[in-house]
Amino acid sequence: MPAPQCFSCHAARAALRRPRSGQALCGPCFCTAFEAEVLHTVLAGRLLPPGAVVAVGASGGKDSTVLAHVLRELAPQLGVSLRLVAVDEGIGGYRDAALAAVRRQAARWDLPLTVVAYADLFGGWTMDAVARSTAGTGRSRACCTFCGVLRRRALEEGARLVGATHIVTGHNADDMAETVLMNFLRGDAGRLARGGGLGSRGEGGALPRCRPLQLASQKEVVLYAHFRRLDYFSEECVYAPEAFRGHARDLLKLLEAARPSAALDLVHSAERLALAPAARPPPPGACSRCGALASRSLCQACALLDGLQRGQPRLAIGKGRGGRDKEGPPGPLPPPPSDPESAPGPAAGECGAACKERCE
């Protein structure tokens, strides 16, 4: 059966059906529509004002590759300039290949690239070292928690280095849908209260961050990358299989089979959640150590690093843990409280919040 005609140009044969609407389109028309939709999101959401210097969080993966490409196409129209910022978490066998892809992209698109490494920023702690440290406690899922928090800090640093005014990340609708599912399953009311919009305005000196691809479905991102023949790195992080997000991802796949618009429906739900004021996180202040945005005396990154240094890697994971605000000297310290380790249920902030969730 011959393919139907493209619904848009009525000239070429359709090459795909859009997952959400089922419309048959040819490659170029689909790409045009996709770009137009991203443009609309940015304009209607007032995400990137003219004159902005935009730091694109580039991981080498499909989302950030598509994001960078689309923004590059739209940059003249939006009046913004782009910088690529890549983060080197120090995951052997994975990040090197991904960074190579980012370097190729930067060369091809002629965009300035800055690479920030955990090893430099965080006193020699690479993700592999963190994983070794947390593996000793028997729950290696926690390394994803570290990665997410530290990466966010690293992106912020990298953005400042290049003089950016905004940070963009490539989260798509499926990511947001998984996030809201995950936050409910883990009872993370604080994050539920914070999430839902297209990004954060940037309180207390942090750069405003946004997600222009938030309303695009993952399938369409992959299709776009295919039709534009984009070169990206498609392997999964070596630590990913242990993350809790995997459950949410499986659930989303099932939901989409029953109802194709499930991801967008979840995004809609997330936009409209109303949480009690008591559940919302306190207004953020500044970290007493590094000055970054923090809701307690120490920001999450400093607290986690603190824990690593003191040989208590699980120190800042989970709610209400003691010893977090104490800046005692290193030495024989009591073993970490054993409660969440043995309890079967996931507590908020724990259980491998997969990296993507924190990068917002």
Binding site: A33, V180, S269
Partner: protein, 521 residues
């Protein structure tokens, strides 16, 4: 042999760990179970003494347990006796599930047998009765002010005073029982409602047709739930019940919360899963079983031989992947096996949700079907709703394929999983118009459900009539508004938005844009 102790996830308590294998252990469990029921009611202080409360009984374990507890609660001595006046409603949904007349009659016999032992008025209604519902059932009635703590205390005190007076009078002269309550001492059959025979075949056929035309099981379940709610609401209003109790357990509510989230009902979670749901105004739905897990319910029912009737539902033989409801149930129960605190975590999060402030039910237009305030954005906003309604796939120059008379803007009617005839643009305007007229009054989630209902004509008349009424009614108001804000272009006609003027104009424009773009066709 049952375990000597039961880990009860909601409360985190381990009951009677030291009681070993004693028979008395089950008294402990029973006391705890009943206590939870009473505590949920007492804590919320919404049910006033002497109030008429309709118990929605599905025949399933949770609602049976609830009915049983009410029965027990009413027969206790006066200090601890439950003070409200109950009735029971059972809805026969056989037509929607494709059951035969004989099967339905058999189930009804079992149902009647149980209802007769209860001693309170009962109402057996068939789902076919939705064809006789008045459009007024979809309107939010003026709300009686919800009692404050002070009012509740005053009401209870005056009720107790009344009791004492009546008891004293009873002792003096009257030979009748000293209770003096409104509750009759024998089954009150004159208040009961029981269909004499099976419903008219035409109605059964119409209902079957409606449900068979729905394309997905998810949409079927949602539609069934909507119709059932309207029917129960109508029974409650007709017979003067101001509260409806449903038997949703903790487990059920956690599943419901995640399901509603996936369906796009994030705005309404607090109403859908909270203790009380006052969206209808005069009739408030309460969920007294919300702190009992399904496991506890099963134990209790087994130990104390609570009667229940198994009724096949719309999804009884469906595969797990068939509907969002089933998927979520399967997922949560599986995850619960791996992380035993999953259900309680979800439940606890649900308690942190608030009902976004609304004063009374007149503010803002409400969804025609689920009666929550509309949660739709304007059609070109940078939100999920906007993403569903906009479409950048079509370039402006119209070709012969484009609909005659369609606006020059994007038209995304075709190929949206709707009927194939959408492509051709030869559908008569009237039918399109009537579908659009219903859809514009629906919230996001109800619109997505209706996407799976290809033709809205088989819907019961009360829905279509009310949609028409709402579309027509406020046009005078809109005209008035447009004269005031003369910088707005293009008059709206036939849009049914209500509410404060600024919102109204925006809503009307949004509704019109949405219809013109013919998205949810």
């Amino acid at each position: 042999m049952p375990q000597p102790w039961l880990p009860l996830p909601v409360s985190g308590q381990n009951l009677c760990q030291d009681a070993a294998f004693k028979d008395g252990i089950w008294d402990c469990f029973r006391a705890f179970y009943v206590h939870k029921f009473r505590a949920v009611l007492g804590k919320n202080r919404l049910i006033f003494p002497g109030e008429k409360v309709l118990l929605a009984w599905s025949g399933g374990p949770s609602s049976s347990s609830m009915v049983w507890q009410v029965l027990e609660g009413l027969s206790q001595d006066s200090a601890k006796r439950l003070r409200f006046v109950p009735g029971v409603v059972y809805v026969d949904e056989g037509a929607a599930c494709g059951r035969s007349r004989e099967d339905r009659a058999k189930t009804l016999t079992d149902v009647r047998q149980i209802l007769q032992t209860l001693g309170f008025p009962w109402h057996i209604v068939t789902l076919e009765e939705v064809f006789a519902l008045p459009p007024s059932v979809l309107r939010c009635s003026a709300q009686d002010p919800v009692g404050t703590v002070g009012t509740y205390k005053v009401a209870v005190d005056s009720f107790l005073q009344q009791q004492r007076t009546l008891a004293a009078e009873g002792l003096r002269g009257s030979p009748s029982s000293a209770q003096g309550e409104e509750q009759p001492s024998q089954p009150c059959t004159q208040d009961s409602q029981d269909p004499v025979g099976p419903p008219p075949a035409a109605q059964t056929e119409a209902l079957s047709q409606l449900f068979n035309s729905v394309k997905t099981l998810t949409a079927k379940e949602e539609l069934l739930q909507t119709l059932r709610t309207h029917l129960i609401l109508h029974v409650a209003r007709t017979h003067g019940y101001s509260k409806v109790m449903t038997g949703d357990s903790c487990t059920r509510l956690a599943i419901k919360l995640m399901t509603c989230l996936a369906l796009g009902r994030g705005a309404f979670l607090a109403w859908d899963t909270g203790f009380s749901d006052e969206r209808h105004g005069d009739v408030v739905v309460v969920r007294p079983m919300r702190e009992h897990t399904l496991k506890e319910v099963a134990f209790y029912n087994r130990l104390f031989a609570v009667p229940s009737v198994f009724t096949p539902a719309v999804d009884t033989k469906a595969s797990e992947k068939a509907s969002i409801h089933r998927l979520m149930e399967g997922f949560l129960l599986r995850l619960q096996a791996q992380f035993p605190s999953t259900v309680s975590t979800v439940y606890r999060t649900s308690e942190k949700l608030v009902k976004a402030p609304r004063d009374g039910c007149a503010a803002g237009p409400r969804c025609l079907l689920c009666m929550c305030s509309l949660d739709v954005d304007s059609a070109d906003s940078a939100t999920a709703f906007g993403a569903q309604t906009q479409d950048f796939s079509q370039t402006p120059p119209p070709t012969p394929r484009a609909k005659a008379g369609a606006p020059a803007g994007p038209c995304c009617a075709a190929g949206l999983g709707g009927a194939p005839n959408c492509w051709q643009g030869t559908r008569p305007c009237g039918r399109e118009g009537s579908r659009a007229r219903v859809l514009e009054h629906l919230c996001y989630a109800c619109r997505v459900t209706m996407k799976d209902v290809p033709c809205l004509d088989p819907l019961p008349p009360y829905i279509l009539v009310e949609a028409q009424l709402r579309s027509q009614r406020p046009s005078a108001e809109i005209q008035e508004h447009l004269v005031e804000n003369s910088d707005d272009e293009a008059p709206a006609s036939g849009s049914g938005a209500r509410g404060p003027p600024e919102q109204e104009g925006k809503e009307a424009r949004a509704a019109r844009d949405c219809i013109n773009k013919n998205f949810f066709n």
